[in-house]
């Protein structure tokens, strides 16, 4: 592999022209967009059959839930892909984590977990839901990792994989099970709220775990001292 040359002036100019052109065209479209209410009315008309009261949650988990299913699969894929790269574990510093960090972790992590649970429940009628709650759990996990505590360190890699895949698994299972009475992801109206909460709970666990372990990067190994061969 040879050293790359710096980008030539010709390429710079071309890129600049293209970028400018694209920005101008998009800007022009933005300025000349017709007035439109989009799908506001269509969503509002079906809200009472969606099982939740917040329109964005209804779109995400019910009307366009198929998108969300694939999106959770994309996050799982990122985790699988990152683990497949075999990154080296981060070097541990010889010093113990400082007092401030330890105390902060002791205060913040339980708070983060509680607020995550609250956001998960809140998603049905206000901005919130699985992704926001999962992100908070991941933040708690990252804090613990910075304080050199593996949040789920006692669990075997197999259980970790199961928890990571739980979101997709539960979502897909619900999507397929309701086909007994209808189409893919067609929740029975009376059960819609409960099914959505179940899916979101499983997704929260998976999202939190995936994001936290994406921060860490290296694949979980079996035990300590008994690393995988090779």
């Amino acid at each position: 592999m040879s050293r790359p040359e710096p980008v030539s002036a010709a390429v710079r100019s071309l890129a600049g022209l293209l970028a400018l052109g694209l920005g101008t065209l998009v800007g022009w479209v933005v300025l000349t967009l017709p007035e439109s209410t989009g799908l506001r009315e269509a969503v509002a008309a079906q809200m009472d059959r969606s099982g939740v009261t917040h329109p964005v949650t209804a779109v995400l988990l019910n009307f366009r839930g198929y998108d969300t299913l694939l999106e959770v699969a994309v996050l799982l894929l990122a985790l699988i892909g990152t683990w497949s790269l075999r990154l080296a574990p981060a070097e541990r510093s010889p010093d113990r984590p400082g007092l401030v960090l330890r105390e902060l972790v002791r205060l913040l992590v339980p708070l983060l977990v509680v607020i995550a649970g609250y956001l998960l429940w809140l998603g049905a009628h206000a901005p919130g839901g699985a992704f926001q709650a999962g992100a908070l759990l991941a933040a708690a996990g990252v804090l613990l990792m910075l304080a050199e505590v593996r949040p789920l360190g006692r669990l075997s890699p197999a259980v970790l994989r199961l928890l990571a895949a739980l979101g997709v698994a539960v979502f897909l299972a619900v999507a397929l099970l309701v086909m007994v009475q209808g189409r893919l992801l067609e929740y029975p109206v009376a059960w819609a709220g409960g099914l959505i909460l179940a899916i979101e709970s499983a997704a929260t666990v998976s999202i939190g775990l995936a994001l936290a372990y994406l921060f860490l990067g290296d694949e979980p190994r079996v035990g300590s001292g008994r690393g995988r061969a090779g």
């Binding site: 209410t37 198929y66 998108d67 699969a73 699988i80 892909g81 197999a158 086909m179 189409r183 893919l184």
Partner: protein, 497 residues
């Protein structure tokens, strides 16, 4: 067969590989077994969908029961059904090959085996989901699922070349997807729907529509590696593990091309000025010649095959001048789709056979396969048969496809594309025979021992035979393609001018 129309198949073509991917990931030690079983199930489901569309017409499934534009619809017409069938056949062949290719119980080899299956099944999920969705934003999510899994699979080879190729592929792919998303966002802002059929029916404001389709085209052209945006393809396809190279060249690049066809032929055919069609055709023509020449002079065997992909992708873009906005455009349309199918099977067979050859070769240069014909006759025959389809010799599928394109070019008076087709075939013949000439040189002494499993050779040969069989069933395939086709006309045109 009246019950067939009531059978719900569409959601299963997505659900089966997805469930399999999750299982293969969680049950790491059994990943290979689970992977192969799910591959079989996915292939059967995909072929069942194709059969259903052939007998009962286009299928639509409103996910969630809401229906577009509020919900997402799954839709399979003839084109989608053929794409899913292509994925099923090539996917099955690659899975059988992968079972013999990724064998490892310790260390790096075990790691590759454990991660290949979940990544590959997620890629299969993405392909099927892309081919059956009727929602343009859902297509974006599937496009990302596809791109990320492809990148991870390339990086699985773990060599510096593979990692660099994967990184470049990822950056280019992400740019392409984001440009696509930008276009989709503008389309929604203009038309308030994300469904393909509703977008086709809705009157798009001329300026916003043109910018949106233009940006979408730019993104998808990047992802399909049309000249001059092909620079990322040869390093990525040539440095990936052999079954991954097969999937990338055969299936992944076709996904973005399929979306291009959907947008231009279904959503906004009225925006297709003759200049745009001719420009796309011209870039395709340059790709055919440029890719062919690079394949002829490439030093590494897998690079020859990768540049061949660049060339063959160029042919596909002839569908725009030959079918878009043309009365009786079905000839060009059918030729292009048949070429997609023929190239998929032949190129997959070629990469798989090259992978088997390289396991026995001294090094990965073209001259490194001297003498391997004695040791690997089945594999070389698969390579040769695949090459015959790529060149376009009868009675293969490649021949029928090129014949239709030739016919469309001459009948619509655009004779210059005929020259491109002929030049491309000559170049393909040249680089195929170059490889075969090296393989058939007789080395003094005993042939090198081959440590490859039978599964490698026979899966490669099966796919090459599929390319041959495609030529014989071409008329049935074209009948299926007529379901929901955007253009009409006879299969073969009379000379008009």
């Amino acid at each position: 067969m009246s019950g067939l129309a009531d059978l719900v198949v569409l959601p299963w073509v997505v659900a089966v590989p997805l469930a399999g991917a999750v299982l293969a990931f969680v049950l790491r030690r059994h990943a290979s077994t689970v992977g192969q079983a799910v591959a079989l199930a996915s292939a059967v489901t995909g072929l069942a969908l194709a059969f259903q569309v052939a007998t009962a017409g286009a299928q639509r499934h409103a996910v969630g029961g809401w229906g577009a534009p509020l919900g997402i619809d799954l839709y399979a017409d003839g084109l989608s059904a053929l794409m899913v069938a292509m994925t099923s056949i090539v996917g099955l062949g690659v899975s059988v090959y992968g079972a013999s290719y990724f064998v490892g119980t310790q260390g790096a080899a075990e790691h590759q085996r454990a991660y290949f299956w979940p990544l590959w099944l997620l890629l299969w999920t993405a392909l099927n989901a892309l081919f059956v969705t009727a929602d343009v934003f859902n297509a974006y999510v599937t496009l990302e699922l596809l791109g990320l899994s492809a990148v991870a699979l390339v990086a699985l080879a773990a060599t510096p070349a593979a990692l660099t190729g994967a990184m470049r592929y990822l950056l280019v792919g992400l740019l392409g997807s984001l440009l696509y998303l930008l276009g989709v966002g503008l389309l929604y802002a203009a038309a308030a729907t994300l469904d393909v059929q509703q977008l086709a029916a809705a009157p798009l404001p001329a300026g916003a529509g043109a910018v949106a389709i233009g940006v979408i085209t730019a993104g998808l052209v990047l992802k399909t590696a049309l000249f001059p945006f092909h620079f990322w393809l040869p390093p990525a396809h040539a440095s990936a593990p052999a079954p991954v190279s097969a999937v990338l060249s055969a299936l992944v690049v076709k996904a973005s091309f399929y979306l291009l066809m959907r947008f231009w032929f279904y959503v906004a055919p009225e925006l297709a000025l003759a200049a745009i069609s001719q420009l796309l055709g011209l870039l395709g023509a340059v790709a055919v010649v440029w890719g062919g020449l690079r394949a002829l002079t490439a030093e590494r065997l897998k690079l020859v095959v990768a540049y061949s992909t660049v060339a063959q992708i160029g042919y596909l873009f002839l569908v725009f001048p030959l079918a878009l906005g043309q009365a009786d455009g079905f000839t060009g349309w059918g030729g292009a789709v048949l070429l997609v199918l023929a190239h998929a099977t032949a190129k997959a067979a070629m990469f798989l056979s090259v992978g088997a050859i390289l396991k026995a070769a001294a090094h990965d240069g073209v001259s490194g396969i001297d003498g391997t014909a004695q040791a690997l006759p089945v594999t070389l025959f698969a390579f040769a048969l695949a090459g015959v389809s790529l060149i376009g010799l009868p009675p293969t599928g490649g021949f029928v496809a090129k014949w239709l394109l030739l016919n469309a070019a001459l009948a619509t008076g655009q004779w210059w594309w005929a020259l491109v087709l002929i030049a491309g075939s000559l170049l393909a013949a040249a680089y195929t025979f170059r490889v075969l000439a090296h393989a058939f040189t007789r080395l003094p002494g005993d042939p090198p021992p081959c440590r490859c499993a039978r599964g490698l050779e026979w899966s490669a040969l099966s796919l090459a035979v599929a390319a041959l069989v495609l030529g014989f069933v071409a008329s049935e395939v074209l009948e299926l393609l007529r379901v929901g086709a955007p253009v009409t006309g006879p299969v073969l045109l009379e000379r008009v001018r």
